[in-house]
Amino acid sequence: MRVSSLSTYLTTTRGLGTALERVQQEQQKVAGGKSLTRWSDDPAAGSAAERYRSEEADWTTYQRSGNDALAWLGTADGTLQSMSSIMTRVKELAVSAASGSLTAASREAIASEVDQLRDQLRDLGNTTHLGRSLFGGFAQSALATGAGGVVSYAGDGGQVQRQVSPTITVAVNVDAKDVFGFTAGAGQDVFSQLTDLAAAARSGNTAAAATAQTTLEARHSDILKGLSQVGAVTNRVEVAQSTGSAALQDLATRRSDVEDVDLADAVVKLSSAQAGYTAALGAASRANLPSLADFLR
């Protein structure tokens, strides 16, 4: 092939340009630590990175909801435990009240303790978590105290839902209606029963005390049912939480795989590009050989 001055010049400059461009590209990767700085650097990897990022954001959201759910459930669990111990004590008192061999003073003592426990139970029923009623659904409070100390259901049965994974949404609250037996029929709820028990103890009506004892047994099992419900939901949330943290770790690793630069690899590539550029410079200095003009006198 014929070689003209111009074609030598064109080939040389083009070679230098290409080599320097490669150095710059590799340098950018090493300096930025990212192999993807724009989506078009690698569209497939870019789409994958965006998908991982979105999943990470979702899982982070679910984790936050999960933590919130666990706080609700923890408070509910503690409160229900206290209620359960109150019920245990109340049942003991009911057994005593039904035995019929008590002095008026002891019966009065039992009655006033029952009253106390009833108030305690009511206060526990109105427990709030972060300003929200724990057992009242979306209502301000779960229980209302009416004329003559009559405790009635004030909740709205709303389910406080928390999404804890892409597929799992749980209700984190149990309702006062179920816990305190407001669904069992008029006068069957725990507060009416306790009022009845106190009255029976005061009046020495052992039969009424025995009836109350049976009903309170059922109400205790309602509270225990609430406890086990809370426990089951807690379990589900905890499983979702650990799935979530595993997923987050996995997603971060995978995103780093597509997005971050393998530093060792990048540095090797950079020095190879630099060597290429040096070689191109050397080639350029040799390509512009002296022409015949240098040898003519």
């Binding site: 092939m1 014929r2 070689v3 003209s4 001055s5 111009l6 074609s7 010049y9 064109l10 080939t11 083009r14 993807l36 700085t37 724009r38 989506w39 078009s40 690698d42 569209p43 497939a44 870019g46 789409s47 990175a49 965006e50 998908r51 990022r53 979105s54 954001a57 979702d58 982070t60 959201t61 679910y62 936050r64 909801s65 919130d68 972060l130 300003g131 929200r132 659904g137 979306f138 209502a139 301000q140 709205d156 709303g158 389910q159 406080v160 839902q161 928390r162 999404q163 892409p166 949404t169 997005e259 022409s291 015949l292 003009a293 003519l296």
Partner: protein, 450 residues
Amino acid sequence: MAFSSLTIGASGLYAAQRAVEVAAHNVANANNEAFTRQRVTLQSALPTPGTAGMRGDGDRGTGVAILDITRLRDRLADVSYRAEASISGAADARAGTLARADSLLGTFGDGAPESLSSFLAAWNQLSLTPDDASARASVLAAGQRLAEGINGAAQQLTTVGHEVALRVTDDVDELNGLLTSVAKLNYEIVKASTSDRSPNDLLDQRDAALDRISQLTGAKMDPQADGSVNISVGGVDLVNGITASTVATSGTEPVTVSVNGSTLAMGGEIGGYVATVGVDLPAYRAQLDALAVGLRDAVNAAHRAGTGADGSTGRDFFVGTDAVSLAVDPTLTGDGVAASASGATADGNNALTIATALRQGVAVGTQTFGDALRSFGGRVAQASTDATRNARTAQASLAAAQTARSSLNGVSVDEEMVDLVKFQHSYEAAARVISVADSMLDKLINEMVR
């Protein structure tokens, strides 16, 4: 004539001088890309009429004559260079335009897809604390940011379209200048050829103009017998002999180029711009509009079913009909955000429903909004990457064609040096002939008379 050796020597001197001149011209233009190396074509001069029957006094030589000074240009190299120039012009134009549209969805890693994640997270947060005014405000803010991300993309498309239209206007201005100069050069070249001159440098000028016209338009070039070149696109003449047409462009989207009202389907850089702005950008715009409508409908359907903290129901969250006008309803306040499913203010379940509907519901075509948004981003990036790759390939082909052509047409300093030495020697020899003739005359005139 006994002493014709004097004139023969003079013709040799003259030829050698002219050849050295041409070599000097070549060396001077060694790095001029538009230049084609030139050669002196020598021929023995017309012999004397001989005397019939006398072979010894036959047609005697009268020295050397310069027949022509020719350009050593390879037409085929021009054809392949110009074909590559047209392809590369179109590919560069497309790659440049799509690279501008490449960041439609904002910075990678902090763009519209991330705004969507924040928007979803804001709904989830609101479902935890529906009675928190700041959670309501952040849902509105995140929604606005997402809508603005889509507005921004549509805005950017308009900007790119506008820039491309301006670019085409500049290119068409340049093209019109080139067409006029080709017509003028055609005139000069035809004039020079008919008066038997060698318009080498004019031809070089015209070839340079034709190269650039090819890159801009991919037009067809027909060399004519009289030395002029006609240029046409799709049968419409741009240059016919010494007449140049004026190309006009619309200057705004949709970008068109035309001659006397008839639209031209050009190749090259102008054609690349026109095709990209006429096909790719409208397609992107339609996809963005579909995304905007999909987002609006998915969120609104779920939002309408809920109740705000102010008791309002059936309200829209997003308003707007396309990617440009999409916005959070400006009359919607924080309390109007329908987080509640039951109507109770402490109820955040509808916020959860909205987030789930947006995450999992089919919003655009057969995809969820998030998938559609990401695949749109991926498609845009892919198109840009492909276009850049094509442009690279075309540039490499063009570079190869250019190198091949310049190695055929270009000046080799070594060759010229050889010519210089060669003609220097022939100059010396011709001078020697004259000095011999001179001494012969001297002998005859000065010594024989005495």
